[in-house]
Subunit: 332 residues, 2 copies
């Protein structure tokens, strides 16, 4: 009530005020506990009056459950991750779970940070970052089975994971581009070190192989627009490719801009450009990107489904596979 009150009132103090014991206070706030409904109502009224709320830290210590979830991501800056995170956070909130966001560019910082979060006894861990090795994750959160978002079957069988498979969708996209007459393909990677990126590349490489083709040129960026732009300029200057598959949508937009602005080439006529992720921006009129898209809603539904099962005590491990589908735009 009184906003200038500095200290928070405790259950013991409230107990005195309500003329009951602190145990009864606790029961008034626990849904299925043996307590007279008159007592409960009275306690809740007094609690409201004095602004009492049970201390979640103390409760967590007692319960051995913090209702905190650690989310390990590379960067919120990437619109794909931002869209997914927002969906996930909303869903977590519906379960009264609070997200702690760990986002980090540097690798050793990331491990440090994961260790820090693990001291908060998080109930769940979701790892979106392909920069974290599964062994590190399991070691650091050794009391919490992590949920890994991966792109291939995991070697460690004891970890729940969401697997994303774009092989079929990539095939459809390659088929279309080849049937449009393109033959000379390049792959513009998101990063050099990420195994996710290697796998994404493989989906397309395999599809090309079925047409007797292979990537003629390669380049490495960092998933950013600027790197997409810059690497595309270099790439298109040094080799005469007529189709570029990019590691994500943002880089694809950069590459498209580079082709148009620096090389004077238009899509899809002069050159085909393909993204990956299916971010909202890809569908904007100014972009209208052809991209290998993942449905973020079902993706996050899957993550939450695994969390729900873990909450219910069934630690699995659970594994869910999702397929990517093409979004057809005017760039390929």
């Amino acid at each position: 009530m009184n906003g200038t009150n500095r200290r928070r009132i405790t259950s013991k103090e409230l107990a005195k005020l309500a003329g009951v014991s602190s145990a009864t206070i606790s029961r008034a706030f626990s849904p299925n506990s043996r307590i007279g409904s008159a007592t409960r109502d009275r306690i809740l009224a007094v609690a409201r009056e004095y602004g009492y709320q049970p201390n979640a830290i103390a409760r967590s210590l007692n319960n051995q459950r913090s209702r905190l979830v650690a989310l390990v991501v590379n960067a919120i800056g990437n619109p794909c991750e931002a869209e997914e995170q927002q969906l996930l956070i909303h869903r977590l909130q519906a379960h009264q779970l609070l997200p702690i966001l760990l986002c980090c560019a540097d690798h050793s910082d990331r491990l440090q940070l994961m260790r820090l979060a693990s001291t908060y006894q998080v109930d769940h861990v979701v790892i979106f970052s392909d920069m974290v090795s599964m062994q590190d994750a399991v070691d650091i959160f050794h009391t919490t089975k992590p949920i890994i978002v991966s792109f291939e079957p995991l070697e460690n069988e004891d970890v729940s994971n969401i697997r994303i498979d774009g092989a079929v969708g990539a095939g459809e996209i390659i088929d279309k581009i080849v049937s449009d007459g393109k033959r000379r393909f390049a792959y513009l990677s998101g990063t050099k070190s990420s195994w996710i990126d290697k796998l994404r590349r493989k989906w397309f490489a395999d599809a090309l192989a079925r047409h007797g083709l292979a990537f003629e040129a390669e380049a490495f960026g960092d998933y950013s627009y600027d790197s997409g732009f810059k690497e595309a300029v270099l790439l298109l200057h040094r080799s005469k490719v007529d189709a570029v598959i990019c590691g994500n949508d943002v880089m694809a937009i950069g590459a498209r801009d580079a082709a148009r602005r620096v090389l004077g080439k238009n899509t899809p006529g002069d050159i085909a450009i393909v993204g990956q992720d299916g971010i909202a921006m890809a569908a904007w009129d100014c972009n209208d990107l052809t991209t290998l898209s993942l449905d973020h809603v079902s993706f996050m539904d899957a993550v939450v489904e695994v969390i729900e099962r873990h909450e219910a005590g069934d630690e699995g491990p659970h594994s869910i596979t999702l397929a990517c589908t093409p979004r057809w735009g005017s760039t390929a």
Copy 2:
């Protein structure tokens, strides 16, 4: 060490293993405590062997400091907020503070969520959302002085805030557009209910007034690309404006696309379009937006500066004002 170990070891157990008391274990992990360096080294070695880390929940309960920070935002989906959040989270991590992200579309959910976070005894609260009334914030986090990001001097003098002022920058932009010969202005609002949006509009309205002009048309969106596109179509059909000031950059891009695609009008010749925020995307070649831009780095530096002072025990209130500056693109 052993990744399959289910339960976490406690300081008391480690004490037994190391042949000391649990108090000594605690001291081994506290930087400035009286402990023999030989003992500390031995304890740290044993701790590493058994994978012991002090339990942050228990420590928080004892310390009365959780090292958690609640960030209240509207939506991560907005690239502006995403860029800012990422900067802020990185800086928090350097201070060993962990962010809890509260993001919510619905208003009552938001209050509910803020109440939930407050039970975790967060050490700091940063409110980015213009949908939260300051009184609600102060009431809910009554033991933690919140930091409010605002666009005008606060009526409640007891709250630290970061104030953002774009009056001068908006004036420069209007001057330029008027000197280019435009006279008929529209304002495309981000939301109907937000006081931030009203203030942003006022910066431009005041600047127009100095030229003896006023907004001829208004429309309301929801800060999204789609709403920018749709409202711009309606707006441009019903009135003959030659300049549109938008509530944020994303809507401006939508409006630009609408003008170009549906109305066949080009920027800046046929129509001037201006955004607000200064997100990275505004500078992309395909957008090259003229926008009233806020330097996100100094913005987040300011937030962290206030947090640092609060950490140091000086609860202020502190107030920092930042100015917006134009980014000149090819849309106005």
